[in-house]
């Protein structure tokens, strides 16, 4: 059953310099099933993050986003977001940050602190409950971000380049651990990234986006069984997927080059 349905989603920004409208996302249609892990990959500026923000209801949009068949226009408890720059409250400890979402949603489902501790443990931060964000590494901070999102028990996890600010090694480890957590929690996941490897490794489907304006170029189904392990990245099939997506993204670069030259010539 369709869990998220995106119909004709367009996003237009006012350019801060000249106030002219700028189309970031243009008539995107996409359906995501219950429990599916969908990754969105594209070069910077293709509107992939804007799309995620619109699905969460954080920015204005045209078109419709339906969750469980109901249209959503504002953030709701069935969706939770993990942010690229972590967006942790610097004056709150790890535990208090995980409690943040529960407080805001006036969580009634029993002991909040117990629940927060559970998710701190789940992301591997037990012992760090009383640390403040500035005392943690980037990877640890994003673990807090993930725990904060999971703690409010959403049906859908929206992740906006969550590992974009991390170094390559940490990034692979986090991806691996995210999958382990996802296997246990069974959320529908929408994951934005600019790393092709990350998109293939994590996703049931990879949405390849092009830019200028942001549109879906193609959706690729990834036929790897789950659970997936790190070694998957060395498989020949993985390389095939990688090459295909890379070609799709680089033809885009070539096309843009051509358009530019045309307009200059």
């Amino acid at each position: 059953m369709a869990h998220i349905q995106i119909e004709n989603l367009s996003i237009t920004y006012q350019s801060p310099q000249d106030g002219k409208p700028f189309v970031a996302v243009d008539s995107v249609n996409l359906t995501i099933d219950q429990g599916e892990f969908v990754t969105i990959v594209g070069s910077s500026g293709c509107g992939k993050s804007s799309m995620l923000m619109a699905i969460d209801g954080l920015i204005a949009k045209e078109g419709r986003v339906l969750v469980n068949g109901r249209e959503v226009n504002a953030p709701g408890p069935e969706r939770a977001m993990v942010f690229q720059e972590f967006a942790l409250m610097p004056w709150r400890s790890v535990l208090q940050n995980v409690l943040f979402g529960l407080e805001l949603q006036r969580w009634k489902g029993g002991d909040r602190i117990k629940r927060a501790r559970h998710y701190v443990n789940l992301v591997g931060l037990s012992g760090f409950e009383d640390y403040y964000p500035h005392q943690l590494s980037g990877g640890m901070r994003q673990r807090v971000g993930i725990a904060r999102a999971l703690a409010v028990d959403p049906e859908i996890l929206l992740m906006d380049e969550p590992f974009g600010a991390l170094d390559a090694q940490t990034r692979d480890v986090m991806g691996d651990e995210l999958l382990k957590i996802w296997d246990r929690e069974k959320k529908t996941a929408l994951f934005v990234t600019h790393s092709i490897d990350e998109a293939i490794f994590l996703g049931d489907r990879v949405v390849v986006m092009q830019k200028g304006p942001g549109r879906i170029k193609v959706v690729i189904k990834i036929d790897f069984p789950r659970p997936r392990a790190v070694e998957l990245r060395d498989e020949p099939e993985f390389a095939t997927y990688r090459r295909r997506i890379r070609d799709l993204l680089s033809t885009e670069v070539q096309e843009l080059q051509r358009i530019k030259e045309d307009s200059h010539g």
Partner: protein, 268 residues
């Protein structure tokens, strides 16, 4: 701050920038409104004009003192005192700040003294300075100097110390001598902080000359302020109080604008 859920898409935008003219227009309207109330309230009998004067009277007082020559003569006295003091503050403050910023031993020796003087209300020294130098121009110049020089020293020093050490390393790796590093890296790198010091010093210096003249003097705008204050001539008093205030405000704002301009050029 109504306790409602923020509307989608509006939320964060209420913190973002709006059109450029919005701010100055609202500001102008509000200042205009303030002047109108100040003018009308005594006329409507809401307040006693003896205590507040009124904007229209400022105009007639201004005209009167300008024609009598009182205005220009006293402005000249105050400005000369201020300019001497501030020029000395720049001449002493910037080199001293540069020295303290670059030389660790000088810093260790003088930093506690500079910090102590920076933190204390130095205008408390006013009676001592008057006792040493008399009630003439010299004491005012010195008051302006000690008011303005410390912010200049402290900010120049901080400016030098906060220059990105990688810039100096880059210069050295291209073969820069110590002098090169100072002239080509530290000096230009610290300009914004020096300007901040100049702006703060300017405010302190203007405050200094006004206070010194008000405390004891025979001429100058500060002198007029206390004279008219003691005579309860509120129209003249308010005129001169507004005059020095607007001057201080304008001078500090002007340096602030230069600072802003410089920062946007440099992209700091």
């Amino acid at each position: 701050m109504a306790d409602s859920a923020p509307k989608a898409g509006r939320d964060v935008s209420s913190f973002s920038a709006d059109s450029r003219w919005h701010k100055p227009v609202v500001g102008l309207i509000s200042v205009g409104l303030f002047l109108a109330v100040w003018e009308m309230a005594p006329r409507l009998g809401w307040i006693d004009p003896f205590y507040t004067s009124a904007p229209a009277r400022m105009y007639s007082v201004g005209l009167e003192v300008f024609q009598s020559g009182e205005l220009m003569e006293n402005i000249r006295v105050s400005l000369v005192e201020f300019c001497w003091g501030f020029a000395l503050a720049l001449l002493a403050g910037i080199p001293l700040g540069l020295l303290l910023g670059t030389n660790a031993t000088a810093r260790a020796l003088l930093d506690p003294l500079v910090t102590a003087l920076y933190c204390m209300p130095r205008l408390a020294l006013l009676p001592v300075i008057i006792m040493w130098l008399g009630i003439g121009m010299e004491s005012k110049v010195v008051v302006v100097l000690i008011g303005a020089v410390l912010p200049i020293i402290v900010n120049t020093m901080a400016g030098i110390r906060e220059v990105d050490p990688n810039w100096a390393r880059a210069a050295v790796s291209f073969g820069a001598s110590r002098l090169d590093v100072f002239v080509k890296v530290l000096l230009p790198g610290s300009v914004p902080a020096v300007l901040t010091g100049v702006r703060l010093g300017l405010g302190r210096g203007i405050l200094g000359v006004v206070i010194a003249e008000m405390y004891v003097s025979v001429a100058g705008v500060g002198h007029l302020i206390v004279t008219y204050g003691a005579a309860m001539r509120v129209d003249h008093l308010v005129f001169y109080s507004m005059l020095v205030s607007v001057f201080g405000f304008a001078a500090v704002t002007a340096v602030g604008k230069v600072e802003e301009r410089l920062q946007s050029w440099r992209g700091d």
